[in-house]
């Protein structure tokens, strides 16, 4: 049997048998070299309670070349691209060692969530947020965990009736959006909550604002 396949199969089986680590690796389809990993957000962090999914691509020369991983779940973190989920982590690059496994790499991602490295950022905007205002950063990261990673509070919030104006304003800030942008599209006659939802989904922040035309946003709002 192909050595790479044998190793990957063994890794998947080992991970299944291990009930203590909370790391999951599953097949997406019959391709054994394109997998999905997931783990719970670490306790005592803004990611607590969330469930984070990672796209795993195993290259031809694995494990002698590093595995390719990126977050499928949107994560608000200095070392993770808020748009693409790309991860900046040394073991995924030149510090990779063939003795590392999919599981140990996923554990490293989990621990990356505990200890961000804002000086080696993947997402400069998020890193800036982290270094300038830790509290505000934590709020946004918690909010993203609720919205995207199924964190606590997400479900009860859905059950609530119309959100108050004050709460909505907070929502704008912690969604990492600009009030002026939300106001602009609300003025066109769309419900505020819908505007926030769409702008968040389109990642209407920072440099992305220039890339997204108003028409494109309105198109999404009309859907």
């Amino acid at each position: 049997m192909d050595a790479r396949l044998r190793r990957v199969n063994k890794e998947i089986a080992d991970c299944k048998n291990d009930k203590t680590s909370n790391i999951q690796i599953e097949l997406i389809d019959e391709n054994p070299f394109h997998l999905k990993g997931s783990f719970p957000g670490p306790e005592g962090t803004p990611y607590q309670g969330g469930h984070f999914e990672v796209d795993i691509v195993i290259p031809e020369s694995y494990p002698f070349q590093p595995v390719k991983m990126k977050f499928l779940t949107k994560v608000y973190h200095p070392n993770v691209s808020s748009a693409s989920g790309a991860i900046c982590l040394d073991i995924l690059k030149d510090a990779w060692s063939p003795v590392l496994t999919l599981k140990s790499t996923l554990i490293s991602l989990q621990s990356l969530l505990c200890s961000p490295e804002p000086n080696d950022p993947q997402d400069a905007e998020v890193a800036k947020h982290y270094t300038t205002s830790k509290n505000s950063f934590d709020e946004t990261a918690t909010y993203w965990t609720q919205i995207y990673a199924g964190g606590p509070g997400a479900k009860e919030k859905k059950g609530k009736s119309a959100a108050s104006k004050a709460e909505a304003r907070d929502e704008v800030a912690i969604a990492g959006l600009e009030k002026a942008h939300v106001d602009q599209f609300e003025a066109l006659g769309f419900p505020r909550s819908k505007v926030i939802d769409v702008l968040r989904r389109l990642n209407y922040r920072g440099a992305n604002v220039a890339k997204l035309t108003d028409d494109r946003v309105v198109e999404e709002l009309l859907k």
Partner: protein
């Protein structure tokens, strides 16, 4: 070989040259061809061969094995001085980028530090058990490992700055003679052995480790080392254990890649990988030595040694164009047509030793040549229209396509004759008033307001760029010209009494035109930056004379052949070729002399030269 231009440190003896060629390449057949050219090309000799001209630099072409000898000498020196074994000396030298003096100095100062940094020995652990974490990897208890190793400290060696005296003592007791442990019993292996990478536990498995005792199976080692060499072009290959900074020795790598317990196909791949590793080592050595440069042509493994151009300062007075001695690209189609007897050799591996330009940019110095190329890149948008291959006849407006190197255009429709470059009537170019090469500076001087000044500046640039691009275009079309010439040579043999040898004058002429267009091309870059004055006028006079001669010869080569004219044509082409060659040498020699004398003054700031006096141009 372009023997006239080939440097040889001998007295020009023919056999010496052949030896050099044979030592550096194995393209058979070509030297034979060259011999014919040398024997029968005497019509064209201007200067006796073997003598270096003022615009040529002294250099030496080295084969891969020549460079290996140089490396071996350095290694032997280090073995002798530091008393280490050959493998260790190699790793130390590579770590120090082959700076022997610095290595000796650092090693004398603190051997442990150097040995650890070079990956020869493991860092002495601070009285804790040996780091055999990797043993636990196959089990589930990996959390601690991966977290502590999330940002593995490759810089751990740096921590040694404050090492204890005991660490120093231990280093001197380290015997670097056995850097690899190939015996399975040599380490504290758990039995039976399970490879922590492929999870294989077959009893036939061959566990191997470096002196750090991190064992992995031979199959995994081979796959890992191959991937590092092939995918990453890495020559310093670290141990596979996480965070371990030990570097695999050449012996270790060689043993793996020449192992006999693999199938023939894999053995062949391994052999290629080993060759590639050797090449990486040589490339690293060459890149570390300012006197050496690796030939940039694809698949070529030769090196050129040129100490005369090793310093940046030297590049203001010489243009170090060198050749590795080889020709053509292995496997690629050569310039000659399908099985024709012209037998044109592949392109000579000419490149600049002083800058990344992979062709002959004489007469202009590196800094100015690169400045010009950058300008052309930046301004390519505005200048793009010029490059187009078609133009309209200024008389009848019909479209005319250029298809040869000659600038003398005749409109097929109205028979109007004009110059492709300046679009002026050709009649003026044939007289003493020929001045197609010279930009009329008056227009620039007269420009008063900013807008017309900027227009004048663009026009000025386009004047030079136009001519530059035209020679480049013509040189590109030289493949066509080669093919056409080959056809003509065949025709000549049929229609006349001339033998194959006797029609070689055509080939020589085509080669000369090609070479001179290269010179002409770069003279326009040079002239663009030359400050106004007598020196520039003289430069442009020489440029004009060469250009005129080249266009005349080009035209001769494109003229139709009639049997009764062949002897006359042969005489004319031969004479013109000699003349063109002479004009080319005048340009090159005078420019080279000017650089040595510091005669050339620029109109812009050029790296390494004095800033120009404020002048308008």
């Amino acid at each position: 070989m372009a023997s006239d231009y080939e440097f040889s440190d001998s007295d020009g003896d023919y056999d010496d040259d052949e030896d050099m060629i044979d030592g550096t390449q194995d393209e058979t057949g070509e030297s034979e061809d060259d011999m014919d050219m040398d024997a029968f090309g005497d019509d064209f000799k201007v200067v006796p061969k073997g003598k270096r001209k003022s615009f040529e630099i002294e250099y030496e072409s080295l084969s891969q094995s020549d460079v290996e000898k140089l490396m071996k000498k350095d290694v032997e020196d280090i073995v002798g001085i530091l008393g280490v074994d050959e493998s260790t000396a190699n790793l130390l030298l590579r770590h120090m980028s082959w700076n022997t003096e610095r290595l000796i100095e650092k090693y004398m100062d603190n051997p442990t530090k150097v040995l650890v940094a070079a990956g020869v020995t493991v860092e002495e652990p601070p009285s804790s058990p040996a780091p055999i974490r990797s043993h636990s990897i196959p089990n589930s208890a990996t959390i601690g490992t991966s977290q502590s190793g999330r940002r593995p400290t490759r810089s751990s060696s740096k921590l040694l700055g404050s090492k204890s005296p005991s660490a120093l003592k231990s280093s001197s007791t380290v015997s670097p003679t056995s850097t690899t442990r190939l015996s399975p019993r040599a380490t504290d292996l758990p039995t039976p052995f399970v490879c922590p990478i492929c999870f294989d536990d077959a009893p036939t498995l061959r566990p191997l480790s470096l002196t750090c005792s991190h064992p992995f199976c031979s199959g995994c080692w081979t796959a890992y080392i191959s991937s590092k060499i092939t995918d990453e072009a890495e020559h310093a290959i670290r141990c596979m254990a996480e965070g371990c900074a030990l570097v695999a020795t050449d012996t270790f790598i060689h043993d793996l890649l020449t192992a006999s317990d693999v199938d023939p196909e894999e053995a062949k791949v391994n052999e290629e990988t080993w060759a590639r590793f050797q090449e990486l080592l040589i490339r690293h050595f060459v890149a570390s030595n300012p006197n050496l440069k690796y030939c940039p042509y694809p698949a070529c493994t030769n090196t050129v040694s040129c100490p005369a151009a090793a310093s940046k300062a030297s590049l203001t007075s010489v243009v170090p164009i060198v050749s590795c001695g080889a020709r053509g690209i292995p496997g690629a189609a050569q310039a000659s047509g399908s099985g024709g007897n012209l037998g044109l050799p592949g392109k000579e591996h000419k490149f600049c030793f002083g800058c990344p330009i992979e062709s002959d940019h004489r007469p202009v110095v590196c800094a100015a040549a690169r400045l010009w190329l950058k300008k052309c890149r930046d301004d390519s948008e505005t200048a793009n229209w010029i490059k187009s291959n078609t133009k309209e006849c200024s008389m009848c407006m019909s479209t005319i396509e250029k298809n040869g190197g000659c600038n003398h255009m005749t409109c097929k429709k109205c028979k109007h004759e004009f110059c492709w470059v300046c679009m002026g009537p050709w009649s003026e170019h044939g007289t003493a008033w020929y001045s197609c090469n010279r930009y009329d500076e008056k227009a620039g001087v007269e420009a008063r307001d900013a807008q017309s000044r900027s227009r004048a500046s663009l026009e000025r640039y386009l004047h030079y760029y136009n001519r530059w691009a035209n020679h480049e275009q013509s040189a590109k079309l030289s493949l066509d010209l080669y093919a056409k010439t080959e056809k003509k040579m065949e025709d000549m043999q049929i229609t006349s009494e001339l033998t194959w040898i006797e029609v070689q004058f055509m080939k020589k002429a085509v080669e000369e035109v090609d070479k001179c267009r290269m010179t002409l091309k770069w003279t326009y870059a040079m002239a663009y930056y030359l400050a106004k004055g007598n020196e520039k006028d003289l430069f442009e006079d020489n440029q004009r004379d060469l250009e005129k001669a080249v266009e005349d010869l080009s035209e001769l080569l494109e003229s139709p052949i009639e049997a009764e004219n062949i002897p006359m044509l042969r005489q004319k082409v031969t004479d013109k070729t000699v003349y063109v060659q002479k004009r080319n040498e005048i340009v090159l020699e005078d420019t080279a002399a000017g650089f040595l004398e510091g005669r050339w003054k620029w109109n812009v700031a050029i790296d390494g030269f004095d800033d120009p006096e404020k002048t308008e141009f």
